[in-house]
């Protein structure tokens, strides 16, 4: 098994009054530069799986390797650095910082590692705004943007550090079908242009259709794993 992300025998149990196991012996590997979808109904465990891949959550059992490194053994600060430099996040709710403009939001992951933006990174931000067709709202606060503009800004933010991996959790969950189609095209364009690995959690079949591989999860288990391009 090889790939930019590897999951080996990953289990997740939430402990409470009643223990609830949501993932069962997940083994997965994601190749660099591929576009992947994880689908399943609500409560199937797809978001928990994405959270574990993103290092925001940890498995109860099993190993997660990113770039060949075992994340289970990393400290909180090492994980924070890994997320900042290697992973870009796009959430269902854009989670832009309302106190900052679109440009400042986009630059935020860069500013976490360097205190002042370089000319190169500002130029990259401009390119992303152009590519995502949101140059006009560059200096607007997120509260003054439409849902589609907010999500595109969130995508630009996820891309600013040129991460190897983009993790998207229901990125079009709150968008209309037209905007959803546009976002899917943007993901594909980025994937092809920068070779970024995409893992998109969605229950929208139309979104999954745009990817190379669809992993279907039910009750915490992988029930199908179809690679479109490779048959």
């Amino acid at each position: 098994m090889s790939g930019i992300i590897q999951l080996k025998q990953v289990n997740k149990t939430y402990h409470g009054a009643v223990d609830l196991q949501v993932l069962f012996d997940i083994n997965l590997s994601f190749e660099a530069g591929t576009c992947n979808a994880i689908t399943g109904v609500s409560g199937s465990g797809k978001t928990t799986l994405l959270n574990i891949i993103s290092t925001l959550d940890c498995p109860s059992h099993g190993d997660v390797l990113i770039n060949g490194k075992l994340v289970n053994e990393m400290t909180k600060n090492q994980l924070a650095r890994l997320r900042n430099e290697t992973i870009g996040f796009v959430f269902q709710f854009h989670h832009l910082l309302p106190e900052f403009t679109a440009l400042e939001n986009v630059l935020m992951p860069y500013l976490i590692k360097r205190w002042r933006p370089s000319l190169d990174v500002v130029r990259r931000a401009d390119e992303l705004f152009e590519m995502l067709e949101i140059t006009g709202i560059k200096h607007s606060l997120s509260t003054r943007m439409s849902g589609g503009q907010q999500q595109r800004t969130a995508i630009a933010r996820a891309l600013i550090n040129t991460p190897k991996i983009i993790l998207a959790d229901e990125p079009t969950g709150n968008l209309d079908s037209e905007t959803t189609a546009k976002i899917c095209q943007v993901f594909r364009a980025i994937n092809q242009r920068y070779g970024t690995t995409f893992i998109i959690v969605t229950h929208n079949y139309l979104v999954a259709e745009h990817t190379d591989r669809i992993i279907d999860i039910k009750d915490g288990r992988i029930i199908s794993d179809k690679k479109k391009n490779y048959g």
Partner: protein
């Protein structure tokens, strides 16, 4: 730097909330500054006006003979003590002034004028005539002048027990603001005092003022140790005014308690507002953590918020507090009247209060900062 930038943006974005907390801090600090400066000034005013222009330490004879021998040695030690501001040897004695059938008792105080002036501020108190420049000239107080109906240049006959009578010329009149002194004290030169009372070259006391009048007891002890002379006694104003001191101490303690309560309220106010801010900003903090900000920098945002609130609030409080003090003095003083309190601007107290407010406000940010450490980005993302 990012943490500072985010802190500033959080504060400016929630403008109304920030203004309210700044207002609260400014009011609290202004009251602290106002109360502190007012009570400090009040204490100084009470001491100054109670002690008036009088010596802080008096060195006099400890035995039956009222005069001090070899007093020049004492003057030498006094002169070389860097805590001493002014000193004057004095030849003092009782005398009578005859008026009709009555004999008015007076205290003749012989001083070198320039020395005594530094202690009693006589120059400013002279309202008619001039200081004594030659021997056998004398300065008379306002009440005694009124009683004797004297003018500058008049002759005054003094009757001194065991020495007979002597005649002095009135050089001027003073008003030290204390009726008993104005009525009883006659100022003349040291030589005249020594001559009238037949003291020879001796003096009856050496009076001195110190730079910090609250250190009078310490200086007194220092001199006692240095002089090591059983024939003299050294008295200071603090030992002679214990009740006044205890009243001042009571004021100082109540002022300190008020200030501690105010500082505690500032801590509670800032900490509670920032604690609410952590809850309000948990989505932002969560997402920043997801994007890779580490726990230290995330918690630093709230420390900076506390620091910034403390900085701006305390500066506004300082300005407001000082303004309040001057407004208080202005409102309680009628035009042409002496203010009820003389303002003593204690820079040390103001700087200390400002620094304490700043440190305390910054530390108040630690509580929400610790709370932010526990914030899990997963919870934020899950809740949307």
């Amino acid at each position: 730097m990012l943490a500072l930038k985010i802190a500033i943006r959080f504060l400016t974005h929630g403008r109304m909330q920030t203004i309210l907390i700044l207002f609260g801090i400014a009011i609290a600090i202004s009251i602290q500054i106002f109360v502190g400066l007012l009570i400090g000034s009040l204490q100084r005013t009470i001491v100054d006006r109670t002690l008036g222009s009088s010596p802080h330490i008096t060195i006099s004879s400890a035995n039956d003979v009222p005069t001090i021998r070899r007093w020049q040695q004492i003057v030498y030690e006094v002169e070389h003590n860097n805590q001493v501001r002014a000193f004057s040897p004095s030849a003092t004695g009782n005398a009578f002034i005859e008026k009709g059938n009555k004999n008015l008792p007076v205290l003749v105080r012989g001083f070198p004028f320039s020395n005594a002036d530094q202690i009693y501020n006589i120059s400013d108190a002279i309202y008619d005539g001039k200081e004594y420049r030659t021997c056998r000239e004398v300065l008379i107080g306002r009440e005694l002048r009124d009683e004797l109906e004297l003018d500058v240049g008049d002759k005054l006959v003094l009757s001194v027990p065991r020495s007979g009578t002597t005649t002095l010329t009135v050089s001027g009149f003073y008003d030290l603001g204390v009726a008993s002194i104005n009525k009883n004290w006659l100022f003349t030169c040291l030589d005249t005092g020594q001559e009238i009372f037949d003291y020879g070259n001796r003096v009856t006391s050496i009076e001195l003022t110190v730079k910090d009048l609250f250190q009078a007891d310490t200086v007194s002890r220092q001199l006692g140790k240095k002089l090591n002379n059983d024939n003299i006694m050294i008295e200071n104003w603090k030992d002679q005014n214990e009740e006044l001191l205890s009243g001042l101490e009571g004021q100082r303690i109540s002022s300190a308690i008020i200030q501690i309560v105010i500082i505690a309220s500032v801590v509670i106010a800032i900490a509670s507002v920032l604690a609410i801010s952590v809850l309000q900003k948990s989505p932002e903090i969560g997402i920043l953590k997801a994007m890779g900000i580490n726990d230290f920098n995330a918690s630093l945002i709230f420390i900076y918020e506390g620091f910034l609130l403390g900085l701006v609030g305390s500066i506004a409080g300082l300005v407001l507090g000082i303004g309040l003090l001057y407004a208080f003095i202005a409102f309680t003083t009628s035009p042409g009247e002496i203010p009820i309190i003389d303002i003593y601007f204690d820079y040390g107290f103001v700087v200390r209060s400002w620094l304490v407010a700043l440190i305390v406000a910054t530390l108040a940010g630690v509580i929400p900062a610790r709370k932010s450490l526990k914030l899990n980005p997963i919870d934020v993302i899950r809740e949307g």
